[in-house]
Symmetry: C2
Subunit: 651 residues, 2 copies
């Protein structure tokens, strides 16, 4: 240190800025902006000077179809047409199967692939999303609503409640988007979604064993233990004919999946496989007169487009809590999944994607869907992946899907009534196997044990308790983790790297420390939840420093560079630290408080209390000042010692 030789105090090149303070409106505005508008959404048109251009840009911003349709070409349409055809061939069997998961008439599933895709084509911001019903949400809605209305005994009431749920979901999702509360969706972490999807897949596969075994009685509960018990209790009902058919279909589907995984170009093989299974199985069962062998079929399906359902809503209070519960949970869940999927494809292709717009699009899709006999739709992963692989370029593919679905409903519906249930079960099982991402769980285990726990909590919770509890436990663990982070913000001890002004964690780098001086980088934030911890931790650093080196600590330098936020409880904590240190005769310096922190330190008179001279802008300045003052002291007490001590933990 240069300062060791000088006798005048070391010169400070850059002082701390005590004057930079923002007014409350500025702070509030910037806080609100960062919280709700971090992507600065109106940037695209707020700077336009002409009102007309501004209007057009605004319209394009709020209704994305105006953005892409003016530049639409035949070339793009050919791509979208092929993609649309492919997803429709998936939409028909999935629509029928998932409707059965929700205990709804199969036609509702087909209706749900007609109206919502049109809405999404107009409002959706993602280029690749394919709209359809979700297996997990279907099961969740069916289960929750069946606690207040029996789908077999009161099918009309049940149906009306499902429409009401869809309406509630839609309004809720749209509100989240309008009020820019995408932040709520962010709290469903990747680990939670992975575990939840896996757990749902397991219980869905077990549910489908009913269809594969051709059983008539089955557990009404979904957890693994109840279902397996139920199967053993009714094992005399198992029909070998359906079982054999089911296994054959499943093997066929899994082979197509295998082919797709090997040769991604052959994605269409697995995409149209479910449709093939439906057609082949229907023909086969028709020929061999499957009914005589106990092979159940979907049953009669009427021709015709979606009837209006706007007058069927049921807001009676005795059902409403179940409706709200089903609507909120499935709404947030499908958003979390849908937005994550849309984002990942948009990143791969560098196409637009806007979480808040997606929420509004999903919300409108479900609101308008609920008026026209649809139940909850979202952007399911399997369908969206197929859409992407089939080369879709714009949401036009959803329009194609809607038109094809309308034609199906008008002319072909009765044919699909002949589909055997076992084929649908095989299709669901095959889709669900792909959702159990065990490699992902292994990856989590390797990288981050807590994320693994969060993931497994969702997986096991869903599989062994219920879907909503599993989700709740996992999200709570995530929140707990975030709170624990705030409560324990990982400070570290710094040392100086030789020949540089750079200070680094001495546990990570072999950096030099200075006898009598302790440099601590404080983790962020300093809040009520950790004010006491920070104090105890600083005291422990001092204690262990003295235990280790025998030198008494005379200077403590707190590096606040990384502290982005502080509150009054924590400022009180700093006052306490300072007072305790003073009692021990230790001097405290603070280095580089950031703007927000400095504002509060000034406002609370903390700066006046400990003095502006205790603030430094760089660690080098603070260390130099401490060295100078220690040196002066030492000279006075004719005591000297080697100044720099090497610690070499990891070199």
């Amino acid at each position: 240190m240069n300062s060791m030789e000088t006798t005048s105090p070391p010169e400070v090149k850059h002082g701390v800025n005590f004057s930079a303070q923002r007014g409350f409106p500025t702070k509030l505005k910037s806080g609100l902006k960062e919280t709700f508008f971090p992507d600065d959404p109106f940037r695209q048109f707020k700077n336009e000077e002409k009102t007309s251009r501004r209007l057009i840009k605004g319209l394009q911003y709020f209704i994305p179809i105006f953005e892409w349709l003016p530049n639409y070409t035949w070339r793009l349409f050919i791509s979208d047409l092929i993609a649309g055809l492919t997803i429709t061939s998936l939409a028909i069997p999935q629509g029928i199967s998932y409707a059965k998961l929700a205990s709804l008439p199969p036609l509702i599933g087909l209706y749900s692939s007609f109206v919502p895709p049109i809405v999404y084509a107009v409002m959706g911001s993602s280029r690749h999303m394919a709209v359809g019903t979700l297996a997990a949400a279907s099961l969740l809605i069916g289960q929750t609503i069946s606690t207040v209305a029996n789908p077999e005994k009161e099918p009309v009431l049940f149906l009306h409640l499902v429409f009401t749920t869809t309406f509630v979901t839609g309004i809720f999702q749209a509100c989240l988007g309008i009020f820019r509360l995408g932040i709520l969706v962010d709290f469903f972490s990747h680990s939670t979604i992975t575990g939840f999807m896996g757990g749902t897949a397991v219980i869905l596969i077990l549910q489908q064993l009913k269809g594969v075994f051709g059983m008539k009685h089955f557990s009404t509960k979904t957890d693994v233990v109840s279902v397996i018990k139920g199967i053993f209790a009714n094992k005399h009902e198992i029909k070998w004919e359906t079982t054999v058919l089911g296994v054959i279909f499943l093997i066929f589907l899994q082979i197509t999946v295998f082919v797709r995984n090997r040769k991604p170009k052959l994605f269409w093989v697995s995409a149209i496989a479910p449709m093939c299974i439906v057609v082949i199985s229907a023909v086969f069962v028709y020929i061999v007169k499957g009914q005589n062998h106990g092979i159940q079929i979907v049953g009669h399906l009427d021709r015709g487009l979606n009837p209006l359902s706007i007058k069927l809503f049921n807001f009676e209070s005795k059902y409403f809590s179940a409706v709200l519960q089903a609507g909120f949970i499935s709404g947030v869940l499908s958003l979390a999944e849908g937005i994550a999927i849309g984002r990942s494809f948009s990143v791969t292709d560098n196409t637009p994607h806007d979480g808040n717009k997606e929420m509004i699009a999903f919300g409108l899709m479900n609101t308008i869907g609920s008026f026209t006999s649809c139940y909850m739709t979202s952007g399911p992963f399997s369908k969206t992946a197929v859409n992407y692989n089939a080369g879709c370029k714009t949401p036009m593919a959803n329009l194609v899907q809607a038109i094809l679905m309308a034609l199906t409903l008008l002319f072909l519906a009765p044919l699909f009534g002949r589909t055997p249930l076992v084929a649908l079960s095989a299709i669901i099982i095959s889709a669900m196997i792909g959702l159990i991402k065990y490699e992902e769980a292994i990856h989590l285990f390797k990288v981050d044990k807590f994320d693994f726990v969060i993931c497994m909590a969702a997986f096991l919770g869903v599989a062994f308790i219920s879907m909503d509890y599993g989700l709740l436990i996992s999200v709570s663990l995530g929140l707990l983790r975030a709170l624990l982070y705030v409560a324990r913000p990982a400070p570290c001890k710094l040392g100086k790297l030789s020949d540089s002004g750079v200070y680094r964690d001495i546990e990570q780098y072999s950096a030099s420390t200075f006898p009598g001086v302790l440099i601590i980088q404080v983790g962020s934030p300093i809040y009520f939840a950790n004010a006491n911890y920070v104090k105890e931790r600083v005291m422990r650093y001092i204690q262990s420093e003295q235990d280790k080196s025998g030198d008494a600590v005379e200077y403590i330098i707190l590096d606040l560079s990384g502290v982005t936020s502080i509150d009054t409880t924590a400022i009180g904590g700093l006052v306490e630290i300072n007072r305790s240190l003073e009692k021990k005769g230790i001097k405290m310096s603070l280095v580089n408080p950031r703007l927000e922190v400095m504002e509060k330190l000034i406002a609370s008179k903390f700066v006046d209390k400990i003095g502006k001279e205790s603030f430094y802008l760089s660690l080098d300045d603070a260390v130099a000042a401490s060295q100078y003052s220690l040196n002066t002291l030492k000279k006075n007490s004719t005591y000297d010692q080697d100044s720099v001590q090497e610690t070499n933990h990891l070199a």
Copy 2:
């Protein structure tokens, strides 16, 4: 920049350490230690070599009386004796008054100042804490238990349930201490406690108007609106005699407080004032035959020490949820308050204080108290402050209090039965006025608006809804704030200070930026809750940089120095950022990832994906590298420009 003139790549002095990795057991151990043992509690004796000394030190650690008693002197005893006398003179009127708040017989309040202080004297770690009942907790317990048992119609059941509550509180508090869950108490911020105390003081003052006005009927609810309505409805009951007495007492008490505030040495004036009021008022009412004028008195009090109550517990399920609720809320609350008070006095005097030991002491105090007809005790602020001012040196003052209280119970109890209720009301009102800390609220408003909102939520919630809701709303707001912090960790744009290797926020300091290079300090942590935000924010920085300067950003340098923690969702987010940047032809460098972050980046193969050459240990190195590479590019394209651009926002 030196690198601008050279043609070879700039030399990197210190490279990033990719090899420092800790095993899972090490990480787990350090995580658990930081979470539950941040103060390294066993340090004092775990390093002792002799087993006997280790045992003694351990005993001293766990049972603090062994620490201070061996060195106890006559001198210390004299101080403690005076302090003990003073707090007893406060304990008698407060004990009777607060018991009435809890709808309990007055004797229970006196019993509660006999046994618990003895326990605290043995187990307590604070030197200044004076044990007694709490006004707020008394009211809370009384209210909650009265929802399942009417204190007037079923007084025995009510009493037994209060003992059970005390027992539950004790066990709960001791468990918090044993399992080192002081972290839970940390979530009651200073702002919450300030607001809660103020709100409680307001409703307690209103409650006491019953006594001051000498009314017989009064609102059973505690919120401000109901109480004021109740007073107006029964205003014909108001007795002028008690009102006049009450006002006189109150003025007298407030004058003593005023004297104490002016001359802190005269603290004893206000400390013994309540006792004087009790004696004088009792004598006065006896002389003027107050009963004839409608002045109510406490009533007959039996002589004798605490009877055993261990067999009176009632764990019947129909009452147990109320018992649990009262026990948990008042338990956590009294801990939060008691620990904060103990800590603040210990800091002032530099005497020992240990939050976890306090929790165990409070827990034992209440458990043993519940066996001996006491209800919930803690360390109330008023009593502890008096104790401190009276010069107490050790918990011996509590022992003195216990002995004096025992003598009172044995010989003087009946005399205190003659105290008029109006005197008690005046004592409570006077104590409560001191708890409305409006200056503190103003301070919060000035320093931190969110803390002010948290404080006012507690205050208004308690005053206008109920105590538990007020507390719940305020704590939830605190948690919301902590979560919002994690969701929006305040990144900032850095620039270089001239003639130094120091990079600072350009909003705060006039620092130089480099064209084509964007340096962003990322806030901590990067978590699932903010992975998407971080990405959008980085993109917005790039966008606004290009909008402002017109230069395309070619390099982005993320300073991770302050990032203490990362999870898998956020690593996925970094991958997405990198992919999006690559699509735009922008190169990303990461500077100084800390140990934990680096471990996870390596484990997740992120380092392999973006290449070790993208990591730098110091911003200077990263900037030099970017300048070199930009310069080479520019030379090749025969395009040049001034390299350093001054931004001068706040100079």
